[in-house]
Symmetry: C2
Subunit: 247 residues, 2 copies
């Protein structure tokens, strides 16, 4: 039986999704510990994305195969009883045998969340990047509109994972302010390494007045990481949604 | 110089505001440690309210007197550098010598925040009370309207702190849903011990169908704690606003 799990996690205490050396807790390893406790076996787990250390997820997806001795609808409660409170399983559903949480995904949506304030927020520590200087979200939104579509996004990629093709289709990129929060939402068929964090850093430079909105056209066309803004820290990044056809 | 401090804190790690025995961290004690570090003295601090262990505040107010060697506008940054991240000072302003954070307050507003869901939220742990059974916020709002005004609120008080007069004026009581969140907002000239948490427990009983909305009229009139709903846990309670005339 192939099971799709949807879950939320606060990434602050984890070294990303992918299992690492012992002593470095990861989302995948912690989830497999819970599977072991519930199923008595430790299935291989396929995650929808290798999130970096400190990145959060509101709707992370993963899948694994098991013999089905426990009906899928009983898994969320059983797994949550064996998971720490910073990881919560929302649902478990049977999917076709060929389903793969990473390769079956046709779109992913991330948010990058900024606190535009002089003082940190004690209620959401580790869940935003704070920028003190005033951000003009209208400038940011104008720049975002110029980056949407199918482009070579080599400018917005850090080296780290080799890729053959740096073209991606950014189906959505928008900026919205809610009080002191400025939220950047980005959806694409796939993202390059650190792409959302570099887009966020570039848009923040536009919002603060350092970069003119229209300059992002040349920044994109340069296909050179040096032309973009900084890679903002992992703590502001949330995997928000993963789209699978027919699910 | 009499200084009014406005600050936010996440109460999860503290045994309430009031200083207690050594080894039990409190908001007041932690704030005085920061004052000691910044001013070199440890002034007496008057808080607007004795919040219980685990209660949070978005706009807690306190005042203290000091010689004014450091201008008030420099205090927030200096204090925040000496406070843990779960306490953040928002402002420091000079107020008249007779100002007292507790006795000068004419109104306080609290929110009680419910998560109406089967699964906990990893991003706001310790910042809500979770109720699984569906809550009808319209029923709750109807009941809330019947409790507003000047009444003897003895029904909604736990024993613990002796009071002569249990009459209070509830200037505002409302219930609003935002997705899975149900937020109860209560404002009054003053609150009895655990009053908001018992009001919240009673309204939750109305929302879940256990208590008819109109029954709160008799519950209030009984002036008997036994007639009200449960005292909901401290983690859902936020001091939201304190009103001082002319400030």
């Amino acid at each position: 039986m192939n099971i799709l799990i949807r879950m939320a996690f606060l990434g602050t205490g984890y070294h990303g999704f992918q299992v690492q050396a012992p002593g470095r807790p990861t989302i995948c390893g912690t989830f497999q510990d819970a599977l072991q406790a519930v199923l008595g076996t430790r299935p291989d787990v396929k995650g929808c994305s290798r999130t970096d250390a400190g990145v959060h997820a509101r709707a992370y997806c993963l899948n694994f195969h098991y013999d089905g001795a426990i009906p899928p609808e009983k898994l969320p409660l059983a797994l949550n009883q064996n998971l720490p409170g910073d990881i919560r399983v929302h649902s478990a559903t049977e999917v076709p045998p060929t389903f793969h949480a990473r390769y079956s995904a046709v779109e992913k949506e991330y948010t990058y969340e900024l606190l535009n304030a002089a003082i940190d927020d004690p209620f959401t520590r580790g869940q935003y990047h704070r920028i003190t200087r005033p951000l003009d979200e209208n400038r940011m939104q104008a720049a975002a509109a110029l980056l949407r579509g199918t482009h070579d996004f080599a400018t917005f990629m850090n080296t780290g994972s080799p890729v053959n093709d740096t073209r991606r289709t950014l189906t959505h990129l928008s900026v919205a302010r809610r009080g002191q929060r400025v939220v950047i939402t980005a959806a694409a068929d796939g993202f390059l390494y650190n792409m959302v964090r570099i887009l966020a850093g570039t848009l923040a430079d536009v919002g603060s007045g350092k970069t003119p909105p229209k300059a992002v056209v040349d920044i994109l066309a340069a296909r050179n990481r040096q032309n973009a803004g900084p890679t903002l820290p992992a703590c502001g990044l949330f995997l928000h949604r993963v789209v699978y056809p027919g699910l």
